[in-house]
């Protein structure tokens, strides 16, 4: 029971930032751009959230500015791939390195520390009280420790699922990712749509970063996103346009991460459990590509 509670709580803590970044990635991929800069944009969000919260004393302001900065970074990303026609992978790689290095630099300039920064003045995102639900066995202890931002995932995923399937906006995004010429010939502004999508994606990554730095922990450390942006990217590629599958996959990785932590406590060399989420990513990718490969072969031979 305790193990189950631990694993589920760890899974949620691990999954929330991934789901936010993954939503950004999913929107971006739906519109036809595979954004590999989720990692960097998330890291920038974490840094800004910590910085603003430390200076102004309010985690809410920290979140707001992280979203804002994420949006600006996303828009800039969009300008580089849409307006300046840069290669989406080159720009993405540059973003990841640049933002990673920039946070280290600013960490040492502003806070005068290397590695990580934490302070008693740094307040985390408040926990949402869940009332009588807290007494339900298993569910209570798992859910009672979650922040408002973690709870926000639920309406966000609902909203995105609705927009994607049932609204003209979602239709246009899906059409854009499928055949941009079809969208252009309908007289819509393809460039503006892609810019908007990258801005939204950046905002979601900013929020992901804020939850990462101010949700479970209350600190910033260099490279603290630790590959979560790439895990989110991998999940997006695996699940395609299904928002709830994104949540499910993120939780699965969260559980793998939790098992890793437990193993670490059980005297297994630390590196092995740390590998777990990525091994799961690899296995899932293999499974999906094997299925696609078989489907492609079936099409070909029956074709």
């Amino acid at each position: 029971m305790d193990l189950a509670v631990f694993l589920l709580a760890a899974a949620i803590a691990y999954a929330v930032p991934i789901v936010y970044a993954g939503l950004g990635g999913q929107i971006s991929l739906t519109a036809g751009d595979l954004n590999i800069a989720l990692e960097g944009e998330m890291l920038a969000g974490a840094f800004v959230a910590v910085l603003v919260t430390y200076i102004l004393g309010s985690p809410w302001l920290g979140i707001a500015v992280a979203i804002l900065v994420g949006g600006v970074l996303g828009l800039l990303f969009g300008v580089m791939i849409v307006t300046l026609k840069g290669d989406v992978f080159l720009v993405g790689i540059t973003y990841n390195f640049l933002l990673g290095a920039l946070t280290v630099l600013l960490l040492s300039i502003i806070f005068g520390v290397r590695g990580s920064f934490s302070s008693p003045q740094l307040t985390g995102i408040p926990i949402m009280p869940i009332g009588p639900l807290a007494h339900v066995p298993l569910l209570g202890p798992v859910l009672s420790g979650q922040t408002y931002v973690a709870w926000l995932v639920v309406p966000m995923v609902f909203a995105w699922g609705y927009v994607l399937r049932s609204t003209p906006l979602g239709l246009r995004l899906r059409a854009l990712g499928d055949n941009a010429d079809a969208v252009r010939s309908a007289g819509l502004d393809v460039a503006r749509m892609r810019l908007g999508v990258q801005m939204i994606c950046g905002m979601l990554c900013g929020l992901a970063g804020a939850q990462l730095a101010l949700g479970t922990l209350t600190l910033f450390s260099s490279g603290m996103s630790a590959g979560r942006g790439f895990v989110a990217l991998a999940i997006v590629i695996l699940v395609g346009q299904r928002p709830w599958m994104l949540v499910l996959a993120a939780l699965l990785f969260g559980i793998a991460d939790g098992i890793g932590i437990k193993l670490q406590q059980a005297d297994v060399p630390a590196q092995i459990p740390q590998m777990l989420p990525y091994v799961v990513t690899l296995l899932a990718l293999c499974a999906v590509s094997a299925r696609r490969w078989r489907a492609a072969r079936r099409d070909k031979t029956s074709a």
């Binding site: 609204t167 003209p168 906006l169 899906r174 059409a175 499928d178 055949n179 079809a182 010939s185 029956s302």
Partner: protein, 513 residues
């Protein structure tokens, strides 16, 4: 349609000129469209038809001239402004998102309701209303990629109508259709005309123009040469106006191939390929093509002709059966080995299978050459002598410009195909496999390609010709074989049979074998 005493003009183009850099694509063109007519615009590739239509539907801004819609002079800066005035376009290459349903494609960009309100179910019923009004039935809730080409085209037409088009421009709509789909398209266009829709039909297939249109405008080199009532003209006259001489489309008198004895050039025995959705595959097919013979394959799309091409060329391996060239079993040999013993292959899909669009003409020539000796790997591919050789071939096959370093992408479709022919026919092939060799190519260029085919045949090559154009098959081939559901349905002599006869076998209405 009851002809009104005074035809009402809905669109008037006056003195339209459009240049692209140094090239004058359209030069002072006048065009008048009357409400409720089917107006054909014919001309060879590069005559300016597509550019003119681009101006009419707002894709290009004209450099000079005016567009008058319903008596008011207009200028549009985008297709959206043109559609607001009721001018819609059906592109030759469909502008559809394949993973979305037909209904979603129809309403895309013009969805009912607001951007955030749920209204897509409304869209389906709106799409259905339009579809029923014009008898354009499609499976609206199916993804477009699951629809046949003809149905996808109906989705394009519905899209334009849904957006409120009163004037519908169709850019070579029959190029991608099988004969029965063409007939069904024409029926639907006539229904639209009866509903008061004005149709501009761009084509270079004169038989279709004569069958469908009320009036014809002929374009040549960026100018309108004439506008004629269809009933007062003939195919011969139109062909003459298009090419600027009295060239007739009558079947040229070409000596029939003399079938040589000995082993057949290409012999297929018991060939079977797996069926798949929308394609019958081949069912134990036997076919011999003699040296010095052109065998034309007539079939409706999806009856096995695509497999036949790939089996003959060695691109696909048959499930069962054997392929032999001049008595030599080549079943297990790939296309490269077959090329070494005299195969030439012009694939159906030029852009996908015949050319790399970003490669130069010279590279396209080299791409199919297999090194015979290890030193061939090290030979400079773009040496001066090599460039001269390719330039000479390009001139001989009338590829314009005859520049070996021009990329394939920079060439028009006709010139790309001539390039493919230059490559394939310059190797003195003994077995020639041709898929839709003149698809999207104008009359002049087609005639030149036919000449090449006949010349190769007369040198003793066996030719397998698959074409969706029955007129072409009856003009070019020495023998016509009809495929129906992967089986031989008939073998016809083009001298005594008519395209109509082939049609009966193609649709399965009649069986001979």
């Amino acid at each position: 349609m009851a002809a009104a005493p005074a035809p009402q003009v809905c669109v008037m183009l006056r003195g339209i000129t459009k240049t692209f850099g140094p090239i004058v694509a359209v030069d002072g063109v006048d065009l008048e469209l009357r409400t409720g007519e089917i107006h054909a615009v014919v001309g060879e590739n590069g005559a300016g038809k597509s550019t003119l239509m681009g101006v009419l539907h707002g894709l290009h801004a004209a450099d000079a001239g005016e567009i008058v819609v319903d008596g008011v002079t207009r200028s549009f800066r985008s297709p959206r402004e043109a559609i607001a005035l009721g001018i819609g376009m059906v592109h030759q290459h469909f502008m559809l998102a394949a993973s979305l349903t037909a209904a979603e494609n129809i309403v895309l960009g013009f969805e009912p309701g607001t951007a955030t309100r749920s209204s897509l179910s409304e869209a389906v019923s709106l799409g259905r209303t339009v579809a029923e009004r014009f008898d354009l039935r499609v499976a609206l809730d199916r993804p477009v990629r699951d629809l046949a080409i003809g149905a996808q085209q109906r989705v394009e037409v519905l899209k334009a109508l849904y957006r409120g088009a009163r004037i519908l421009i169709l850019d070579e709509p029959t190029a991608v259709l099988s004969p029965d789909e063409v007939e069904s398209l024409f029926d639907r266009l006539r229904i639209l005309r009866a509903g008061g829709i004005t149709i501009v039909f761009i084509s270079h297939k004169l038989r279709e123009v004569m069958a469908l249109s009320d009036r014809v405008t002929v374009m040549r080199r960026g100018r309108t040469v004439a506008t004629l009532a269809t009933t007062e003209t003939t195919r011969e006259q139109l062909a003459g106006l298009m090419v600027g001489s009295d060239a007739s489309t009558n079947k040229p008198s070409v000596p029939k191939g003399r079938v040589a004895g000995g082993s057949p050039a290409l012999s297929l025995r018991g060939i079977a390929t797996p069926p798949r959705p929308g394609n019958a595959g081949l069912k134990s097919l036997d076919l011999d093509i003699a040296a010095g013979e052109i065998v034309g394959i007539a079939a409706i799309e999806g009856n096995g002709q695509a497999d036949l091409l790939e089996i003959a060329a060695g691109v696909q391996a048959p499930l069962r059966g054997t392929v032999a060239m001049f008595g030599r079993d080549v079943t297990g040999e790939d296309i490269g080995r077959r090329r070494d013993v005299g195969l030439a292959y012009v694939p159906e899909d030029r852009h996908r299978d015949a050319l790399a669009l970003d490669a130069t003409a010279l590279e396209s020539f080299n791409a199919v050459r297999r090194p015979q000796h290890w030193s061939d790997w090290l030979r400079p591919a773009a040496s001066r002598s090599e460039r001269r050789r390719v330039a000479e071939l390009m001139r001989k096959f009338d590829v314009r410009p005859p520049d070996p370093l021009a990329t394939c992408r920079s060439m028009s479709g006709g010139n790309q195909q001539k390039l493919v022919f230059a490559r394939e026919f310059s190797r003195d092939p003994k077995v020639i496999v041709l898929g839709q060799p003149t698809r999207g190519i104008d009359i002049g260029a087609s005639q030149a390609l036919f000449g090449r085919i006949w010349a190769a045949r007369d040198r003793g090559a066996g030719v397998l010709l698959v074409s969706a154009d029955l007129d072409e098959l009856f003009t070019v081939a020495d023998r016509i074989v009809v495929l129906y559901e992967g089986c031989l349905a008939a073998s016809l002599d083009p001298a005594s049979a008519a395209p109509r006869d082939a049609g009966l076998y193609m649709t399965g209405a009649r069986h001979a074998i």
